[in-house]
């Protein structure tokens, strides 16, 4: 794994939190810093023009990756930033969202003045509850916002089908693709949603960068979110006119190196092929589910079906607390996450399903895969879990 020096000596199973970054991405950013270091869109000299070209080429790479045009791709600081932008600028009161949303796709909507949230429940196997989805649609929400892939359950939601329904009735569909774009072949036209957002750091890119994609017509309706340099036309003391898209939504000096790094990450992913990435993760997920099911007392959340889920598996190991499991794994250099995974309402829901009446919400251990993981990593995980069980059966 020469491309990923960060993986040396560790079993990294936390790509859903943040992925590793290949040397190719670092080299491309370094090239910017060492050879093209200037601000963009501003300079009247060749260096700045090179920086601008590199930045805009990165935007084109994002567009090609999503099957769309560059002016529909707004660089943000991440998924959370993009979702806050939408929650602040989209009109409407009735907002439908699912119980499996990440805090970043929940709290911004919940905290909107006068927001009326419509909750879509989940089934026992961690998928969107069909009846509840129908009921939500029937209320004709102004906005529906859904995660493409759950960062806890792994569930892949049927965005295409839901988008069709939303369009029929004039509901705007926002897709949190933080766990989708990095792992699944993406074509925004095929998906059919109105907006789609994701982060660079979960797809081999650097921290500090994300993307807001929007249907052109919808994007054009958005008022500016932040104000400042680069997003203006004429500025007088009294008033300001604004630039065209995508600049209108990118105030101030943008994350230049980060955008360029994301472009390089996309090059890396395209060279591998997203269909292959998905296939690889599907196989690992299948293997892991198979192995984990053999461990007594281990309880897995979500669909437990590699066809219906991404490379994310969350579970409990008997009564051993997830943090203790994670620490025991960490002693073997196996990196997993433990806790509520920024999904407290989902954890509450799972608690009510798994241990009805319990006051404290459960926590889960999560293992997540990416293109650099191998069957060997699953074996390491399983061994570590067996040790955890042993430690806690001494008492």
């Amino acid at each position: 794994m020469l491309d990923f020096p960060g993986l040396e000596g560790i079993t990294y199973l936390d790509s859903a939190a943040s992925s590793q970054t290949p040397n190719q991405v670092l080299a491309r950013m370094e090239h910017y810093y060492q050879r093209d270091r200037a601000n963009v869109h501003r300079g009247a000299y060749a260096l700045s023009s090179r920086a601008t070209d590199a930045y805009e080429e990165a935007r084109q790479k994002v567009a090609d990756f999503l099957g769309t045009d560059a002016d529909q791709c707004v660089f943000t600081r991440g998924t959370t930033d993009a979702l806050n932008l939408l929650a602040r600028t989209l009109p409407g009161k009735k907002i439908a969202l699912s119980v499996m949303e990440h805090h970043s796709n929940l709290v911004p909507w919940q905290q909107r003045p006068e927001a009326e949230l419509i909750w879509i429940e989940i089934s026992e196997d961690g998928r969107l509850d069909q009846a509840s989805l129908e009921a939500a649609l029937a209320q004709k929400p102004d906005i529906m916002t859904l995660t493409w892939v759950s960062n806890v359950l792994g569930t892949i939601n049927p965005i295409q089908e839901i988008a069709r329904r939303c369009r029929e009735q004039g509901t705007l569909l926002v897709v949190d693709a933080a766990q989708g774009v990095p792992h699944l072949p993406t074509d925004v036209k095929e998906l059919g949603c109105h907006f789609l957002v994701f982060s660079g750091h979960k797809m081999l890119g650097p921290t500090g960068i994300g993307v807001l994609w929007g249907e052109r017509q919808q994007l054009e309706k958005l008022p500016p979110y932040q104000f400042g340099g680069s997003m203006v036309g004429l500025v007088t003391r009294e008033k300001t006119t604004f630039a065209d898209l995508p600049q209108r939504l990118e105030a101030g000096t943008p994350p230049i190196a980060e955008a360029i790094g994301l472009g390089a990450a996309i090059d890396f992913l395209r060279a591998r092929g997203m269909a292959k990435v998905r296939q690889h993760e599907k196989e690992l997920t299948g293997l892991a589910l198979h192995e984990l099911r053999k461990i007594p007392d281990l309880r897995i959340a979500g669909p437990q079906d590699p066809e219906k889920q991404g490379g994310v598996i969350s579970f409990q190991v008997g009564k051993v607390h997830p943090h203790d499991v994670a620490t025991i794994l960490d002693r073997r250099n196996v990196c997993v996450r433990a806790g509520h995974h920024c999904c407290q309402p989902l954890m509450r829901r799972l608690t009510d399903m798994w241990t009805p009446g319990a006051r404290a919400p459960i926590a889960l251990v999560r293992a997540s895969f990416y293109l650099y993981n191998q069957p060997e990593d699953v074996a390491q995980l399983v061994e570590g879990l067996q040790e955890a069980r042993k430690v806690f059966s001494r008492g």
Binding site: V320, H321, P322, H323, D324, T327, I328, D330, R331, A338, G339, H340, R359, A360, P361, A363, V391, F392, R394, G395
Partner: protein
């Protein structure tokens, strides 16, 4: 892995699986609800202090083995202590937790010393500390 290094000694596993002094008091003079939002660990600590001494101390909680074992072992140490002694104990424990080098605890902490291994896991130190900061708040009357 040396015994000193071992985070999950039998005594810790034992305390976490069979916590001592669990429950609630009818007339607590001091109490506090400690919560770590990052990991969800919770401890509800209640004390009955009279004549300047801790007569009774109980807790209820949920969370990882470290946080619950630490709470259980803490309650064992508290009974009969004066407020000043308790405050001193908190200080001693906190200092020791943050010092990976210190071989032994400067003062006897009884079973609590089994938490020595936690010091090698900075992310888990906050788990061990929860009961103690909860006690601190309870004594301060928060």
């Amino acid at each position: 892995m040396g015994d000193e290094e071992d985070l999950y000694r039998e005594i810790i596993v034992d305390h976490s699986q069979s916590p001592r002094n669990q429950g609630t008091l009818e007339h607590p003079t001091h109490q506090h609800h400690g919560y770590n939002p990052l990991c969800g660990d919770e401890i509800e600590l209640q004390l009955e202090v009279s004549d300047g001494r801790i007569q009774q101390v109980v807790f209820q909680g949920s969370g990882c083995a470290i946080s619950q074992a630490s709470a259980s072992m803490l309650t064992q140490q508290l009974k009969g202590k004066t407020m000043t002694e308790a405050t001193h104990l908190i200080g001693t424990f906190k200092t020791w937790m943050k010092d990976r080098q210190a071989e032994q605890c400067p003062e006897s902490l009884g079973d609590v010393e089994a938490l020595a291994g936690v010091r090698s896991y900075p992310v888990r130190v906050k788990c061990a500390l929860l009961a103690w900061t909860t006690l601190e708040h309870a004594l301060a009357g928060h």
